[in-house]
């Protein structure tokens, strides 16, 4: 028999669903848990309450909001212990890979040529393959120029795996020297602020 539905039970239902979910759960999904749709606001209040409960208990696991929904994850301070159970270390990425990722993240959508212009070196196809197979970037279209080069952008999974809710939460770019006097403004314009991610 299903547990009676009191607010405390609702919390436990949402908690169980989030603990067992194979991926982040958006509010729209969590609303389906209940006999009657409680609406988005009540679910958000439950999530806030749940996050507070876990935080106050000082657990090694926390409830976080990511780009594609809510998820429980272990706190970084505990990784030193959890690493001891691991067979293999997670991959480390070279500076070339990380610089390419940064350019795609901050300047998206970009072509391979754009990336090469910024880095000043050719970009090996392996670098893009590494990022694509990790599921962090994908091709979102083609630029309408000769050769129709592929346009790369970061994925929702990239945000999820970096613990971010949207591109606006990327670390701020460093304010470098004002170069407006020297060069044409249009060339130095930072990439347009990413559109706000649809709320989850």
């Amino acid at each position: 028999m299903a547990p009676a539905t009191t607010p405390e039970t609702w919390l436990r239902i949402v908690e169980a669903a989030l603990l067992a979910a194979p991926g982040p759960l958006p509010v729209s999904e969590l609303r389906k848990l209940f006999d009657e749709d409680p609406g988005p606001d009540l679910v958000r209040r439950l999530l806030d309450e749940l996050r507070a409960q876990w935080f106050e208990a000082g657990r090694g696991v926390e409830l976080v909001q990511l780009a594609s929904g809510w998820r429980f994850q272990t706190r970084p301070e505990y990784q030193v212990y959890l690493d001891r159970l691991k067979e293999e270390k997670p991959p480390r990425y070279s500076r070339a890979v990380m610089e390419t990722l940064a350019i795609i993240a901050y300047r998206q959508p970009v072509t391979r040529g754009d990336i090469e212009d910024i880095r000043g070196v050719t970009v090996s196809p392996n670098i893009l393959k590494t990022l694509e197979s990790r599921g962090w970037v994908d091709i979102v279209g083609h630029r309408d120029t000769p050769g129709r080069p592929a346009l790369f952008a970061t994925t929702r999974r990239f945000l999820d795996e970096m613990g971010l809710r949207s591109l606006t939460e990327l670390p701020a770019l460093t304010e470098l020297e004002k170069i407006m006097d020297l060069v044409d403004v249009s060339q130095t314009e930072p990439a347009a602020a990413p559109a706000p991610e649809e709320e989850v």
Binding site: Q73, R95, G120, M162, T174, I179, L182
Partner: protein, 276 residues
């Protein structure tokens, strides 16, 4: 793409203080006389992501103003590094040579007397290079910050507990509406057939008929009065009574009374018993 040596973390505030580690020893700065041991030269080359990276290093190292770079010393220094690398037959990416050409071209343009022109917005020959250096540096720092972001599997793990599924069987869901539709469908069909008269009877009578049958389930005689629950009130009692009459009519129960005013007994009709 992995470097054979662990590079020092690239930090926004301290660009490349430690260039590389050679046999565990940090290479903090390049020898002033530009003599670099062959091993270190390879490391030196791999420490940089390209000519822009090397140029940035030279500028920041010498604490030069990037917006007003003295092209002559910068170009000279850059060429010396490139020559040193070429001298040891290291495979040098073409971009390094291309950059050398760009630097020389800018330097020569800087030396030319500027033609007096009313256009005050004459572009500085260094502008494009400076723009590229600044943009690259910004992305290089952004990459370092991305690298520092907590990342799943490296800095934290996602929780996913086992779902104990086997215990619960998924049963079809039925709503009252489904039931209503099914009944309406039957009625419709029955009317079309015209061969059956399916009317609606008082449900409460039918409900009490079922309830009475359940009470008589073991086949024993039951005192008539006990079939009635006074708490149902007059309408309930009437319905219960109608249910008994209906059961008698359908010959589902037997009602007996030995003599007038004696207790009335009810029991399932002989053929009705569940366990018969």
């Amino acid at each position: 793409m992995n470097l054979p040596l662990a590079l020092a973390p690239v930090d926004a505030g301290a660009p490349l203080d430690v260039l590389a580690r050679i046999y565990g020893e940090p290479l903090l700065e390049l020898p002033k006389d530009l003599y670099i041991p062959p091993d270190a030269l390879q490391v030196f080359l791999e420490a940089f992501e390209g000519p822009l990276d090397l140029l940035l290093y030279l500028i920041r190292k010498a604490n030069l103003d990037i917006l007003d770079v003295p092209m002559a010393p910068l170009t000279a220094q850059y060429l010396e590094y490139v020559e040193a690398m070429r001298a040891t037959n290291l495979e040098l990416a073409a971009e390094y040579l291309l950059m050398a050409a760009v630097l020389l071209e800018i330097k020569s343009r800087m030396l030319l007397p500027r033609p007096p022109r009313e256009n005050a917005e004459e572009e500085d020959p260094r502008a494009e290079l400076v723009r590229r250096l600044l943009e690259y540096e910004q992305m290089k720092l952004a990459a370092a910050r991305l690298e520092a972001l907590p990342r799943v599997e490296r800095d934290f793990e996602w929780v996913g507990v086992f779902v104990a599924e086997k215990v619960v069987e998924r049963l079809p869901e039925v709503s009252l509406h489904d039931l209503q539709l099914a009944w309406l469908r039957i009625m419709k069909k029955a009317r079309l057939n015209q061969s059956h008269r399916v009317g609606r009877e008082q449900l409460s009578v039918r409900e009490h008929m079922t309830a009475i049958l359940r009470k008589l389930g073991d086949g024993a005689f039951v005192v008539f009065d006990t079939l009635f629950d006074v708490e149902l009130g007059p309408p309930g009692l009437v319905v219960s009574f109608l249910a008994v009459l209906e059961l008698v009519k359908e010959r589902l129960v037997d009602v007996t009374q030995n003599e007038a005013f004696a207790p009335i007994y009810v029991k399932l009709a002989d053929g009705t018993r569940n366990d018969a």
